[in-house]
Symmetry: C2
């Protein structure tokens, strides 16, 4: 890794998709720089022409790494996995890899996009019940899958990309007052993961751009 | 492959996520069976208790393959790629793989979930303008990315998972009357892909469950 400049993460402390990338960096022990993009200030700094050059989708996260800029959290994490493979974030067994990816995609495509800031701003006054509906629908399915796949973590006893997606989504669920106790496997795995250093140091409560009143 | 039973695809002719999987099977020359799940009939047959056992998320597609059942189209396609690698649907170069995945995720997480049937049913009477808004927003970003990555296809001159995601999303855009001519790279790559046999045989206009009045 000598000679490589540090990756730069464009993100926001409370963005669940940004947190996914922070967890991946932390699990792999990769040092990186953070460039905060405040999604609230002045209507959202991700909407500036300057940030549009970083990510034309005008969302966080984006990562500048190895001379290119990538967006989409899972694509970023898969790239990190393929270029910095240790420790692995995917199992070796193809069937278990498929289970990991199925859980990731259920969260990343099936839940998060429907409760992100931009969508909720468009929904307006019904936004809390809208977010609760889609998170609950997704968690019903996720609980059912995890009952089949989980060991200590989402798939068996090794930490994987599925765990990286789970924890920030549970954090969002709690923000929207979804009762996670309805989903005992989700709750148990999440609590186990939150004890791990990589999940702690990447938590929204302790990032460079976390406001003072929200710091842990 | 001898001795393997054929994969079974639970899907719907007009579901863009199902079409992705049909393209992957067709590109790889994998024979499969289709079990149609009518998303319209009786309020949606994906909502039955019977189908919930196939996919707890109660969406299509789901694929029964190698003794397990997988949901989430990209997870399915990645599993097929890892177990039936020829022809490859991902480039060898890690940076190009990342570009493919970034384009896939932009569509699969950033566009499609916001314009799928279930969400539009919840939106109600504004559903067409809602769908147009999110498809257009995504295509503005996608066009910008493709200008940097595309050759003959989405990333260079080899067909990849990005192309598998592109064509069904353009089909949806046209259904919602988004003017795709605004996005010249998307339009050109889509037209090139539609000439390829695997994209033709998998098209919604010629599936076992395509109604007579919509058949090509």
């Amino acid at each position: 890794m000598a000679g490589r400049t540090k990756p730069v993460l464009h993100g926001y402390f409370r963005s669940s998709c940004t947190w996914r990338v922070r967890i991946a960096f932390a699990l792999k022990g990769i040092e990186y720089e953070q460039v905060p993009v405040n999604l609230i200030k002045d209507g959202g700094l991700q909407l500036t022409d300057e940030y549009k050059k970083v990510n034309p989708m005008q969302q966080v996260p984006a990562v500048t790494i190895d001379g290119m800029t990538l967006s989409q959290s899972l694509a970023i994490i898969q790239y990190i996995e393929e270029t910095r493979p240790d420790p692995a974030l995917l199992p070796v067994n193809p069937q278990k890899r498929a289970q990991v990816r199925m859980i990731c995609d259920l969260i990343v495509s099936g839940i998060q996009p429907l409760q992100n800031l931009y969508v909720l701003q468009k929904i307006g006054e019904d936004k809390v019940s809208w977010a609760q509906h889609f998170i609950t629908r997704g968690f019903v399915a996720l609980e059912s899958l995890l009952k089949q796949t989980a060991g200590k973590y989402c798939v068996g006893d090794e930490i994987s990309m599925a765990d990286i997606c789970l924890v920030p989504q549970v954090y969002n669920a709690e923000r929207f007052k979804v009762d996670v106790a309805q989903f005992p496997t989700i709750k148990r795995v999440n609590e186990t993961l939150l004890e791990i250093e990589a999940f702690k140091v990447s938590h929204p409560s302790c990032q460079p751009d976390t406001p003072a009143d929200l710091r842990a």
